[in-house]
Symmetry: C2
Subunit: 314 residues, 2 copies
């Protein structure tokens, strides 16, 4: 009998669920729903999963990419920055109890790294780092073909390293982390601050400004918007040099909304990385690139996780 | 016939070579020589190895812990900060050509982590980070019982992450790295600077001041010396919080000369680490401790490497 994987990607605004035939990378169904609604986000997730499960097919596994910090070994979401009601949520058990099949959950940025390694920009690389820059900054690391998880599954939080001691407040409550100085909100607030000081920009009359506004203005040649994006990219590039010293990978993948600025983001990132690396040997055979899977990276990461689950169970 | 491992630890001031019977952790011979002398450091190493090789015993492997950056896969030392003549030195080949047995070399701080994991403070831990604070700051990381090497063996340079952007010059040529603000020379120069501004200390008449002087003065109650050590430990503790976010280990081991200050160093380190961690879950089951192997950590790390070499060859 044909078997399928059910994979889900839970974000702050949307939940997506897809069904993939085992050994296929083309989904037969993809459904999407808002994360917030009359019922709880996990009830909405469970209902959407039920909708994509076929009547006459066996389900090999269900996997979920979810915001962290979460413990993939315990199947527990400790807290989800954009889903306030998810605190110490036993997500794996909720799904297992309803569907009675093997279930695994993973941090969305970790699984994005796994997805890129298995199906995307990371194919053929043994060691890579993935950094997603959007509302927050998340990370995922592959070392010798293994996902770095750490002892409680909390590793690879690459957005939460100190860049400016006692710098701006970070979403995590600490100060001066990479996320606090380089993620979307930092780009937007720097832009607003410069405009308030009289620096000219096509966004002068816009308030509030979003990171997406800045990216679009930069695309259309706005110099201040380009500077805002370059400033973020320079911070990320300096941090990437540190990560090269730590992991010595052959590939760095940049994902998330901000990466859609393409070379406007990659160029200053590359310059800062090259300037801050302690030995040119770290740049030997190193590739810097944009995510190949784009918006599907969460689903494809969950699919890669489902494969490993299927292998370990059979 | 009895077999032996020959292991060496090459430092900036001394070379040590020991012979261990296979499956023993007690050396039968240890010899030591100055690194600098009339002949080259590698000739001195080769001669010392020859002296500890027994006439009637087979040698299973020769391993060397050496200063980095070095490529353990190519057996090549790129450069050694304290041994200026070692630039692109094919150290493994030099030893193989003379002794015709399996040879491996490793970065000294990486092998220290391996040694602590196999024989010292890290026994029973799957994931740990080792940080050595002395003239420089080196690192080693064990992830799921494997040494983190990176694609060219250049990973785990934990002393070379940016702590203060555009901060003091680092030994590697970059600025504001952990090594530049927290290693022995930074401790000594901060002490000299405070004294030159009239802050009282038992070391007021000493010039130049070394990190060892500061440690001894702190031991005898000198408040300024204690502050100098606490300042370094605070930087290291902030960086350790970042490393917890990156690796989520169960053990942090502090080695090197500065760690001999014991709780004078560990207390402020622990305080900074606890303050800067983004979630208390990173502290669950986490142990912070001093190196158990002390001055022998390089030899014991080389011994652990020799064991893996022996297993992979048989």
């Amino acid at each position: 009998m044909a078997k399928s994987f059910i994979v889900a990607d839970v974000g702050g605004t949307h939940i997506r669920v897809a069904r993939f035939p085992v050994q296929s990378q083309k989904p037969t169904v993809v459904k999407r729903i808002n994360t917030v609604g009359p019922d709880s986000p996990h009830d909405r997730l469970l209902n959407l999963i039920a909708k994509v499960i076929p009547n006459n097919e066996e389900i090999a596994a269900i996997t979920v990419a979810a915001p962290g910090p979460l413990d993939p070994f315990a199947g527990m979401v400790y807290e989800a920055p954009n889903i306030p009601s998810w605190v110490n949520l036993p997500l794996r058990k909720l799904i297992e109890d309803q569907f009675h099949v093997p279930v695994a959950i993973g941090n969305d940025a970790n699984l994005a790294a796994l997805g890129e390694w298995r199906f995307g920009a990371g194919i053929g690389h043994r060691s890579l780092i993935y950094i997603t820059v959007s509302t927050g900054i998340g990370g995922g690391v592959i070392i010798e073909n293994q996902l770095l998880l750490g002892e409680r599954g909390l590793a690879a939080e690459l957005g939460h390293i100190t860049i400016i001691p006692d710098g701006p407040l970070c979403g995590c409550g600490q100060r001066g982390h990479l996320e606090a100085v380089a993620a979307g909100p930092a780009i937007a607030s720097w832009m607003e601050q410069e405009i308030s000081q009289g620096i000219p920009s096509s966004l002068s009359d816009r308030k509030p400004i979003t990171a997406k506004d800045v990216a679009e203005a930069a695309n259309q040649g706005d110099e201040l918007a380009k500077a805002a994006i370059a400033r973020s990219a320079t911070y990320v590039g300096t941090a990437v040099a540190d990560f090269l010293h730590i992991f010595n990978p052959t590939l760095v993948i940049i994902g998330g909304g901000v990466s859609q600025s393409g070379e406007d983001f990659l160029n200053p990132l590359r310059t800062a990385m090259n300037e801050h690396v302690m030995s040119k040997h770290y740049l030997d055979n190193l590739t810097l690139t944009i995510s190949a899977l784009g918006d599907d990276v969460g689903l494809m990461g969950a699919l890669a996780l489902a494969e490993t689950l299927n292998h370990s169970k059979t």
